[in-house]
C-alpha cells in the first residue's frame, strides 16, 4: 500500500466521520428546532471537497500535459543532435558532451522528470543494461548503427583439466579473410586459423598445471591488429577417476591404455582374460553390481563385453560410465548388441583405414607440449613424419539418441555416447590407437581417450567456472549462493553479497579473475575490462534493444502515479479557501433559525450542569 493510498483512505475516513458528526448534530438541531437542511447540505458537500483538495495539495496531480516524446542520447551520439530541433534531448552519462540537452544519471530518472512520455527515440549506439528495464515502459524508436567489425561472440572453454586440450570458439562480424590467433601465456602463437563464411572459428590450446590462466585471442587482417581479447581458462585438478579396463585377451591396446591411465593418475584396475580361466593384470575384482559400483568408468572390449553385458548395463544405469571398444572387426552378435544399446551402426563391416589429422608444424607443436622428462621425453611428430597405421571399424556410430564425438581427418565419426539411466555409454570405433603413442602422437591419443572418458565418467562434484562474458562496471547476478556469499577480486579485495532468494548482485569494479566463495566451495569467474570486446557488448545491447516494444503504450506509464512536478500551491489555496468557507459556515448562523433568546440559555445550561 502506497502512501497515497493510505492518505486517501485516511481522508475518506475523516470525511465519513465528519458526515456522521454533521448528521448527529442535525438530529440534535431537529430536536431544538434549529436544524436547516440547506446548511446541512452545504456542509456535507464541503467536507469531501476539502479532503480532496488537501489530498491533491499533498499529492498534486500532473498539471498540464508534458511532451510525449523524448530523444535519448547514448554513447556514440552525433554531436549535431543538440542542434536539431525536435523533442527534448536527454543526455545519459555515456553520451558525449553535447550542448542543449538535459543530463540525467539514467533513463528512469529522465522518464520521471518528464512524465507523460510515451515514445523515446534512442540516438547513438543504444541503451545499456542499466536502462533497458526503464525503457520497457515506453515505445522505443531505435535505428541501430552498423556494428563495428570485430569479435561478435567469444566462448571460452568450460573448466579444463590440468594438461587437457581445450577449444575456444568465437564468431567474427564484418571481417572476411581475417586471421585469428590464440596466444599462450608465454606470448607464443599456439594456434591460428581463419573464420569460415559465417565468421565462426575454433582454436585449440593446451593447459598445464591447475590454476587460472589467460590466453589471448588476436584478430588480424592484412597484418593489422583488429581486436584482441582475453580468453580466461580455468584449469583444475579433477579427482582421480577409478578406471576399470576389461579385455578379452591381452594386447598392445590394453597395455598402452593401462600405461596412459596410470601415468595420468587414474586408479586403474586391469583385467585381461588369457583363456581357460587365467586372468592377467591387476588383482581380480568381483564384476558384479557391488564391484562395479566402485568404479567411475570402464573401458571394455568386444570380447569381454560378450560375457558381462548384464552387470555392466545395470551398473551404467546406476551411473557408471562405459566405453565400448572393438579389438578388431566385430561379429554380427556384437553388432546387434551394440545396436540394442541405442546406437545406430551404419556402413560396411570390417576394418577401414583411419585418416589421422596432420601433425601441426614444429613451432606450434612446441607450444602445445610441455617440457620433457627422463621418463617421458618430448616426442613430437612433425608433419613430414611417418603416420602410424591406425584403423577403425567401417561402421559409423550414430542414431538419434546418441551424441556424436571424435572425428578423423576424413570426417569419419569415431565415437558416440548416449545416456542410459543416470550413466552414459560410449562407443569407440578406433582400432590399434596405441600406435599413436609410439609415433609421437601421444597428445592425440590422450585427447581421444580423455575425451571419451570425460563424456561418460560418473559425475562427481568439482570446481566449475561461472560461464559467460562479464564486463567491469556492469551489474551481474550470482545465484545459488545460499545465505552467505563472498567475492574476492584479483587485488584481494573482498565483497560480501547480500542475497535475495539465493541470488546476489555484484558490480565488479576491476577486470581480472574473481572468486565466488560460498561456504567452502569456490567458483571463479573472469571479468573483462570495460572496453574489452566492444563489438560483442554492442551486439548484446542491440539484441536487448530489439526486444523492446516499438508500439506506443495506451497511457503514459510513469506519469500520473509518480508525477511530482505538478505544482501544489493552487490546491493549497483552494483548500484554504474551502476550509475557511467551511469554518465560516459552521460558525455562522446563516440558514439557522434566528433564536436570539436561546442564546443566553446555553451558558445557563452550562452553568446549571456545572453547578451541581
Amino acid at each position: 500500500m502506497t502512501v497515497q493510498w493510505t492518505v486517501a483512505l485516511l481522508f475518506g475516513l475523516a470525511t465519513l466521520l465528519a458526515w456522521a458528526r454533521l448528521w448527529l448534530w442535525q438530529r440534535g438541531g431537529l430536536a431544538t428546532g434549529r436544524a436547516s437542511p440547506v446548511r446541512l447540505a452545504l456542509l456535507m458537500l464541503l467536507q469531501p471537497l476539502v479532503s480532496a483538495l488537501l489530498y491533491y495539495a499533498l499529492f498534486p496531480p500532473m498539471v498540464g500535459v508534458g511532451t510525449p516524446d523524448l530523444r535519448i542520447a547514448t554513447a556514440g551520439t552525433s554531436r549535431l543532435a543538440g542542434a536539431v530541433d525536435g523533442a527534448p534531448l536527454i543526455l545519459l552519462p555515456e553520451a558525449p558532451v553535447i550542448g542543449g540537452g538535459e543530463a540525467t544519471p539514467d533513463l528512469a530518472t529522465a522518464l520521471r522528470r518528464h512524465p507523460g512520455v510515451r515514445t523515446i527515440t534512442v540516438l547513438g549506439n543504444g541503451l545499456g543494461p542499466r536502462d533497458i528495464d526503464a525503457a520497457r515502459q515506453v515505445a522505443v524508436e531505435f535505428d541501430p548503427p552498423p556494428l563495428r567489425p570485430g569479435i561478435l561472440n567469444l566462448t571460452p572453454p568450460p573448466t579444463v583439466p590440468a594438461g587437457g586440450r581445450f577449444v575456444v570458439g568465437a564468431t567474427l562480424a564484418g571481417l572476411s579473410d581475417a586471421t585469428v590467433e590464440l596466444i599462450d601465456p608465454a606470448g607464443r602463437i599456439t594456434d591460428s586459423g581463419s573464420a569460415d563464411r559465417d565468421g565462426h572459428f575454433l582454436l585449440a590450446g593446451t593447459a598445464r598445471a591447475a590454476g587460472a590462466v589467460s590466453f589471448t585471442l588476436r584478430v588480424r587482417k592484412d597484418k593489422r591488429l583488429i581486436e584482441q581479447a582475453d580468453v580466461p581458462v580455468w584449469v583444475t585438478d579433477s579427482t582421480r577417476p577409478r578406471l576399470l579396463i576389461l579385455a578379452g585377451a591381452p594386447g598392445p591396446e590394453v597395455k598402452y591404455l593401462r600405461r596412459w591411465a596410470s601415468d595420468a593418475g587414474f586408479d586403474v584396475t586391469t583385467q585381461m582374460s588369457a583363456g581357460g580361466g587365467i586372468a592377467l593384470g591387476d588383482a581380480p575384482v568381483a564384476l558384479d553390481a557391488a564391484g562395479l559400483r566402485r568404479f567411475d568408468v570402464a573401458i571394455v572390449d568386444d570380447r569381454a563385453w560378450a560375457g558381462l553385458r548384464g552387470p555392466l548395463i545395470a551398473a551404467v544405469r546406476g551411473g557408471l560410465g562405459l566405453v565400448l571398444r572393438a579389438g578388431g572387426a566385430i561379429d554380427g552378435a556384437t553388432r546387434s548388441q551394440w545396436q540394442a544399446l541405442g546406437f545406430g551402426l551404419s556402413g560396411p563391416a570390417g576394418v577401414a583405414p583411419l585418416a589421422l589429422p596432420k601433425a601441426s608444424d614444429e613451432a606450434v607443436a612446441r607450444t602445445r607440449h610441455g617440457i620433457g622428462s627422463d621418463e617421458a621425453p618430448v616426442d613430437m611428430a612433425l608433419p613430414e613424419d611417418f603416420a602410424p597405421d591406425v584403423g577403425r571399424l567401417g561402421l559409423t556410430p550414430g542414431g538419434g539418441a546418441a551424441v556424436p564425438m571424435l572425428q578423423d581427418a576424413g570426417g569419419a565419426r569415431l565415437g558416440a555416447w548416449r545416456v542410459i539411466g543416470i550413466g552414459r555409454v560410449a562407443l569407440f570405433t578406433g582400432i590399434d590407437s596405441y600406435a599413436l603413442t609410439l609415433t609421437g602422437r601421444r597428445d592425440l591419443y590422450g585427447d581421444w581417450w580423455n575425451g571419451l572418458l570425460t563424456a561418460v565418467a560418473r559425475p562427481a562434484p568439482s570446481s566449475h567456472m561461472i560461464p559467460g562474458i562479464l564486463w567491469a562496471g556492469e551489474r551481474m547476478a550470482l545465484c545459488d549462493i545460499g545465505g552467505d556469499g563472498q567475492v574476492e577480486n584479483a587485488a584481494g579485495a573482498q565483497t560480501r553479497l547480500a542475497p535475495v532468494a539465493g541470488c546476489g548482485a555484484f558490480w565488479p569494479a576491476r577486470a581480472g579473475w574473481h572468486e565466488l566463495r560460498v561456504k567452502d566451495a569456490l567458483r571463479p569467474f573472469y571479468v573483462q575490462s570495460h572496453d574489452a570486446l566492444p563489438t560483442m557488448r554492442a551486439a548484446r545491447d542491440r539484441q536487448a534493444m530489439a526486444m523492446l516494444s516499438t508500439t506506443t503504450p495506451g497511457a503514459p506509464a510513469v506519469a500520473v502515479t509518480t508525477g511530482g512536478s505538478g505544482s501544489a500551491w493552487p490546491f493549497w489555496v483552494a483548500w484554504l479557501v474551502a476550509s475557511a468557507l467551511l469554518w465560516w459556515l459552521e460558525r455562522s448562523r446563516v440558514g439557522r433559525r434566528a433564536v436570539l433568546s436561546s442564546s443566553p440559555v446555553e451558558p445557563a445550561l452550562a452553568t446549571a450542569s456545572a453547578a451541581p
Binding site: R208, A209, S238, I371, W513
Partner: protein, 702 residues
C-alpha cells in the same frame, strides 16, 4: 706522306705515354693500398679502375701534343741542314710550287741522316723519383696506420637505468669487446651493449668506466664465481673466455647500491659440419657397362669452415653367396671450393681398388671442421656402387622377387619336336603299331606339357574340346563313364613343380602372375599344343609337327617377352581348430599380476610459482619465496627451453617483488617451463534431484 709523319712522331709519342704511365703507377699502387686498408677489396678495385682510366686519358692527351707542328718545329730547331724547310716534307696535300718541289727533294735526301728517336723527350726522372717517394710513404703510412679496433675501444654511454646518487659509484660508460676464436675467421667486434651473442670460445673483454671511481668492482655472475675488474687508468677492465651462456650484472658498489640490471651473453655453439651426397643421389647405383672408374661427389658445409682434406672410407665386398670378403681402407681426399661449402669428388679407379664384377663398393666421406682445439668429425652417408655378377642375372631381393621363367618347360617342347622328327625318320624301320604307339607316347608327353602350361592360364584350358562322337552323350545316359578323370601321371615335367608338391604357392593361381599380353600368347601356344597332341595321339606325328613348331615359337615369344613377378603376400594361417583349444598341458600357468609403476610429473616448484604469481586462488601478492624454483631451474636446466631467461626472470622478481611487469615476465617464462601432465577427465556435475528423476524416467522407459 702520313707514313713519314707517323714514322717521325711515333717514338716521341711512345715515350710520352710511357712516361705518364710510369709516373701514375706508384700513385695507383699507393691508392690501391690505401683503399684496401680502409675500404676493402671492392674499394681497391674501384680506385685502381678509375685511376687507370684517368691515367690512360692523361697519357693519350700528353702524347697528342706531339703532332705535325711540333715535329716541324723540332726538326727546324735541331737540324740546320734541313734549312728550315722540313714543313715541305710534312706538308698537307696542298699543291706545291715547282721550287718547293725542288727544295723538298733536297731535304728529303737529307732527313734520313738523323733518326726519329733523337726527337723523343727525356724521362721526367725527378718527378718520377718524387712521386715514388710520396707513394712509398703513403703505402707505409697506410699499412702502419692503427686499426680502429686494435687500440683502446671507444666507450658507449651506459644504459643501466639506475638513479645517480652521490657517493655511490655508477656505471657511466661501457664497451664489450668480443674476440672470436681465430679458427672462425670472424673479425673482432666491439659491442656498445653489455648483452651479446658470441661464438663459443670467444674472448670477452669488458672496458667500463664508473663515476665516482669505486674502490673495487666486480661482474657478478648469476650462477658462478664473480669476476673482479682491474683498474686501468680511468677505466676498469676484465676478460674471460666464453664457454657457456651466462647472466651477469656490473656491480661497482659491493652490493651497497641499487641492484643493477642483468645482462646476458649467449654462446653460439659451433655446429658440426653437414655432408650431403650430390651424385649419385640414390644410395645404390649400378656399374654401367664399360665403366672403369667412379666419381661420387659430396658437398660438406659448416658454419665456419670445413677442413680442406677429408677421409674417404672405401669398403669393398667381393665375392658371392656366402663367400664374400670385405676389405676396408681410408684414403685422403682434397676438397675444392670455399671453406664453408667444400666439394669433394674423389675419382676411384676400379683397377687400383681391385673392384671386380660381383662386388659392392661402399664409400663414406668423413669430414672435419676447423674447430680448435678439437675439430668435430662427421660421417656422411654411405654410397654403394654395385657391379652385378656376369654369370647370374641380378636378383637379391632389392627390387622385389624376380623369378626367371620356366626353362625346363621350353626345352620340353623342343624335345617333343625332336622326338617326333626322329620318329618320322625311323618310320620305315619300325612296325606301324609301334610307330602309332610311340607317337601316342609322345602325344602323352605333349598332353602333360600342355597341362603344365594350362596351369599357368588358371586351368581353364583343361577341358578338352568336345569330340565329334560325343553328340548326345550325357552324364546320365545309362552307361558307365569310368569315374572321374585320372590325374595326369607324374613323370615328364613334374619334377619342376617342387613348389606345388611341397609348398603352396602364395598367389591365387599361377595365372595371376602373368600380364594379359603374355597370357594371350601362352593361350595360343596351348591351343597349338592341343592340335599337336591330337595328331600325335592319332599316330600322325608328321601332321603334328607344324603345330608343335608353332607352339614352340609362341613359347619362345613368351620367354623373350617376360619375367614373371610373383606377388608377395603374408602368410595364410590355417583356421583355428576350436576342438583342440586349451587341451595341452597347463601346469605352471596361473593368473598373474602385472606390475606397473606410473610416471610422476615433476614440475612442482614451477607450477607452485606459476600459481603464486597469478591472480587466482593461490596467488601471493607480496614477495614470493623463489629459492625452490631457482634450485629446480638449476637442476633441470637441460629440460628447459631457456633456463637462462628463467633464471633472469626469477632474479628480477626477487630483487623487485613489487614490479608487476617482472612478475608477468617470470610467469610467461614459467609457462614454457612446465610439464604438460596427462589430462584426467573433467567430471560433470551430478544431476540434482529433478535431473536424476528425469534421467531415471527416460532410462526406465527404454
Amino acid at each position: 706522306m702520313t707514313a713519314l709523319l707517323a714514322h717521325w712522331i711515333a717514338p716521341a709519342r711512345r715515350r710520352a705515354l710511357a712516361d705518364t704511365l710510369a709516373l701514375a703507377m706508384p700513385l695507383l699502387i699507393a691508392g690501391g693500398v690505401v683503399g684496401w686498408r680502409w675500404g676493402g677489396l671492392v674499394i681497391t678495385l674501384l680506385i685502381v679502375a678509375i685511376g687507370s682510366a684517368t691515367t690512360i686519358l692523361i697519357a693519350r692527351r700528353s702524347a697528342a701534343r706531339f703532332d705535325r707542328a711540333w715535329l716541324i718545329r723540332s726538326l727546324d730547331n735541331s737540324r740546320p741542314e734541313l734549312e728550315d724547310s722540313s714543313a715541305l716534307l710534312f706538308a698537307e696535300d696542298a699543291p706545291l710550287a715547282p721550287l718547293q718541289v725542288l727544295q723538298r727533294t733536297r731535304i728529303a735526301a737529307r732527313i734520313d741522316q738523323g733518326v726519329p728517336d733523337d726527337l723523343r723527350p727525356g724521362w721526367s726522372r725527378r718527378t718520377l723519383i718524387a712521386v715514388s717517394i710520396i707513394a712509398a710513404t703513403l703505402i707505409i703510412a697506410a699499412l702502419l696506420w692503427p686499426r680502429p679496433d686494435e687500440g683502446p675501444p671507444t666507450l658507449a654511454a651506459a644504459q643501466e637505468g639506475l638513479p645517480a646518487r652521490p657517493g655511490i659509484p655508477r656505471l657511466v660508460a661501457q664497451n664489450l669487446r668480443i674476440i672470436p676464436p681465430s679458427y672462425t675467421g670472424l673479425p673482432l667486434r666491439d659491442s656498445a651493449s653489455l648483452d651479446a651473442r658470441a661464438p663459443q670460445g670467444a674472448r670477452l673483454e669488458w672496458t667500463l668506466r664508473f663515476d665516482p671511481q669505486p674502490s673495487a668492482a666486480v661482474l657478478t655472475m648469476l650462477a658462478g664465481q664473480p669476476l673482479s675488474l682491474r683498474r686501468d687508468g680511468e677505466t676498469w677492465i676484465a676478460s674471460r673466455t666464453l664457454d657457456a651462456s651466462f647472466l651477469y650484472r656490473v656491480d661497482p658498489t659491493a652490493a651497497r647500491g641499487p641492484t643493477p640490471p642483468l645482462h646476458r651473453i649467449d654462446a653460439i655453439a659451433d655446429a658440426p659440419p653437414q655432408v650431403k651426397a650430390l651424385s649419385p643421389t640414390a644410395s645404390l647405383s649400378m656399374v654401367t657397362s664399360g665403366q672403369r672408374n667412379w666419381t661420387p661427389a659430396f658437398a660438406a658445409t659448416d658454419d665456419y669452415g670445413v677442413a680442406a682434406t677429408a677421409r674417404l672410407r672405401v669398403t669393398l665386398a667381393i665375392g658371392e653367396g656366402e663367400n664374400v670378403t670385405f676389405s676396408e681402407r681410408e684414403i685422403a681426399v682434397t676438397g675444392s671450393g670455399p671453406a664453408r661449402d667444400r666439394r669433394f669428388a674423389p675419382r676411384l679407379d676400379f683397377s687400383s681398388f681391385g673392384f671386380v664384377a660381383g662386388g659392392d663398393m661402399v664409400v663414406q666421406l668423413i669430414v672435419r671442421d676447423n674447430r680448435a682445439p678439437t675439430p668435430q668429425e662427421v660421417r656422411g652417408p654411405s654410397m654403394i656402387l654395385r657391379w652385378p655378377s656376369i654369370k647370374e642375372p641380378e636378383s637379391g631381393g632389392m627390387e622385389g622377387m624376380v623369378n626367371t621363367t620356366l626353362p625346363a618347360y621350353f626345352r620340353s617342347q623342343r624335345q617333343i619336336i625332336i622326338d617326333a622328327e626322329s620318329l618320322i625318320k625311323q618310320k620305315r624301320g619300325i612296325t606301324p603299331d609301334r610307330y602309332i604307339m610311340r607317337s601316342a607316347s609322345i602325344g602323352g608327353d605333349q598332353q602333360i606339357l600342355r597341362g603344365r602350361y594350362s596351369q599357368f592360364l588358371g586351368g581353364e584350358e583343361e577341358g578338352e574340346p568336345p569330340l565329334p562322337t560325343a553328340d548326345g552323350h550325357q552324364e546320365d545316359d545309362g552307361h558307365d563313364h569310368g569315374g572321374p578323370p585320372k590325374q595326369p601321371s607324374t613323370g615328364f615335367g613334374a619334377p619342376e613343380d617342387v613348389l606345388g608338391d611341397f609348398g603352396h604357392p602364395h598367389d591365387d593361381s599361377p595365372a595371376s602372375s602373368l600380364d594379359p599380353e603374355t597370357r594371350a600368347i601362352l593361350k595360343q601356344a596351348v591351343d597349338e599344343m592341343w592340335q599337336s597332341e591330337r595328331e600325335l595321339k592319332q599316330g600322325r606325328p608328321d601332321l603334328a609337327l607344324p603345330f608343335a613348331y608353332k607352339a614352340l615359337r609362341f613359347i619362345k615369344e613368351v620367354q623373350q617377352a617376360t619375367r614373371i613377378f610373383l606377388s608377395r603376400v603374408g602368410p595364410e594361417l590355417p583356421p583355428i581348430d576350436a576342438t583342440r583349444r586349451m587341451t595341452g598341458k597347463r601346469e605352471g600357468l596361473a593368473s598373474r599380476t602385472l606390475a606397473i609403476a606410473p610416471v610422476e610429473g615433476r614440475d612442482g616448484p614451477a607450477a607452485a610459482a606459476w600459481r603464486a604469481l597469478g591472480d587466482g586462488l593461490d596467488a601471493i601478492r607480496g614477495p614470493i619465496a623463489l629459492g625452490a624454483l631457482e634450485e629446480w631451474t638449476r637442476t633441470n636446466a637441460g629440460r628447459l627451453p631457456d633456463a637462462l631467461a628463467l633464471s633472469g626472470a626469477i632474479d628480477s622478481v626477487r630483487s623487485d617483488p613489487a614490479c608487476m611487469a617482472c612478475r608477468a615476465r617470470l610467469r610467461a617464462q614459467l609457462w614454457t617451463a612446465m610439464e604438460r601432465p596427462l589430462a584426467r577427465p573433467a567430471r560433470r556435475r551430478p544431476a540434482d534431484a529433478g535431473g536424476a528423476r528425469y534421467l531415471g524416467a527416460i532410462g526406465s522407459a527404454q
